[in-house]
Amino acid sequence: MPPDDDDDLRSFLDSELADLPVGSAEDPVNFVEEVVGWLTRWATTYDVEIGLEKPAYCCFVKCDRVREVAETQEGFSLRKYFRDDTPQNLLGQIYLCSPTLQSVFSRDVVVTSIDDLEKEVTRLGLTEHAIVVFNAASKQAFWRYEATAELVPIKLDADATGQLNSEGFDEELTRFHVECTATPQGYVRPWKSAKKLLTKDDLELEIGDHLCLFLKLKHKKWLLVTRESFEPTGRADLKVYFIAERVSFFLELKVFRAFERSGTTVKSVSQNETIDWGKMGVAQAHSYRIANEPTGVAYACCYDARGTDSEIDEVKDYAESINVRYRRYFIYQSAEAFQRSFIR
């Protein structure tokens, strides 16, 4: 039956908006979010002390046709109602999972480290799959959604960091940059060759993946984060809705490059091309906003890999003229260069 009044429905909506998946049906980032949510429930339900002799690790592997994968592997058995029941006997096992954990198969695995678990995943021939590894001793999970990506840590009590409101968003974007994109060692691993100023080819996409999970996993209760959100004027890289305040931010992500790949050759990017690219990002962010909320907030986040940390006034001025929040985050070629940037 429908609720008696709008207040009931509104409060139902507020709780559900926070629980919506980030991407479309099969987006691997949904799997990471789903598993981290499940592990958070497990860690909250069972306050387990991990003795040195007890298994402390487990691993979840996303499988697109899980039954078929489980049938070709030895020793895996179906874990019925795994999604509903949050069973206590979690550790020391490897889990083959459908994307939403509706169907899960498991078997025992003896490992003493996360490296061992990664080796086991490789031995099973599942390296290409998204995985989430859990260390119950530290209550920390690590995720990656493709073979070449690094394992990214996430604390399971992330929501304890408190409510993120729209005023604190800029600070959170800076925190993301420091953790993920500022240096070659950041979790996004932005460079193909820092020395040659060559970034990864799909760096915008990777930054988008990491940023949406960074926001969603840290602030699940407070945000609706939608990746590649379809707007009437195009596809916004990210839409962030602050549930309590009922405001939306639209984000367009761009990378400023010194060089870019064109077929098999690499060519340098001119200053004019960079200016055009930056203005394009600003204009896109603006167009997503006006299609939805003309008075809303639009961000153009530009990750600068040109090798020279200098502002681009043309882009900055253009963004100011149409009230878009332009933010430039410089990608350093080494951790030392990042540290030296504080010595002014």
Binding site: M1, R10, L13, L17, D19, L20, E26, D84, P99, Q102
Partner: protein, 225 residues
């Protein structure tokens, strides 16, 4: 032998085989079975499959999709579509869908046939081909979102949720009544999603996927209450 071949007529085209509604329905059913495989829902029993098709009918309007049947009888065993069953059997005969655990038995409602359905390799590759075509892409997008949203619901409630769906469980809709989705204004599922949008416009305007997911969660919560 040669004479026999010469005298053979080319395979005749059965008019019912090129009926566009039939093809649409078959595509819909095949895509639903294939998406259920990726969502970890296979093998799926016949009863649950018809209930899932019912949910796909309720919410198709959100995506401007044309479902295989816009009318269903409120049947004693839950929603049941004879046409969809015919398509399932047909896909099985074409080796695109596999049927197992056939069981003919009698229960409180009378005689009944239950079976589990899954997809075959040929079914997967046919579904991929269909999804690459424009009409298959649009239908496939909707079917994927619906089935993955369904697979995010509690396993123990999956069979019950379609029976608590607002159109199916509406007051005054007795067993044997006809439920139709021909008029958008009378579709209670679509009306409820409009209410979601009215109360959270900045979050849900133009957000079909999110409205679909929230609607199923709404029914799940109502069922659990």
């Amino acid at each position: 032998m040669k004479d026999n071949l010469k005298n053979q007529r080319p395979l005749s085209t059965n008019i019912s085989e090129i009926d566009i509604a039939q093809i649409r329905a078959r595509v819909w059913v095949l895509l639903a079975v294939e998406a259920s495989d990726r969502a970890g829902l296979l093998p799926m029993g016949k009863t649950r499959f018809h209930r899932l098709i019912f949910l796909s009918n309720c919410l198709a309007e959100l995506y401007d999709a044309t479902p295989p049947a816009k009318r269903v009888l409120k049947y004693k065993r839950g929603p049941f579509y004879p046409d969809v069953q015919w398509q399932l059997d047909r896909l099985t005969a074409m080796s695109l869908v596999r049927v197992e655990n056939l069981l003919i038995a009698e229960d409180v409602h009378g005689p009944w046939m239950e079976a589990d359905y899954s997809i075959t390799e040929s079914g997967i590759s046919t579904a991929e081909t269909i999804r690459a075509a424009p009409v298959g892409r649009a239908t496939g997008l909707y079917i994927d979102e619906l089935i993955f949203a369904f697979s995010r619901l509690a396993t123990r409630q999956l069979d019950e949720i379609p029976l608590r769906e607002l159109n199916y469980d509406a007051p005054g809709i007795a067993e044997g009544a006809l439920i139709t989705f021909e008029d958008r204004r009378s579709n209670l599922a679509v009306r409820m999603t409009s209410d979601f949008e009215r109360l959270a416009p900045k979050a849900l305007t133009n957000r079909f996927r999110e409205k679909l997911q929230i609607y199923l969660r709404y029914i799940e919560k109502e069922n659990a209450a």
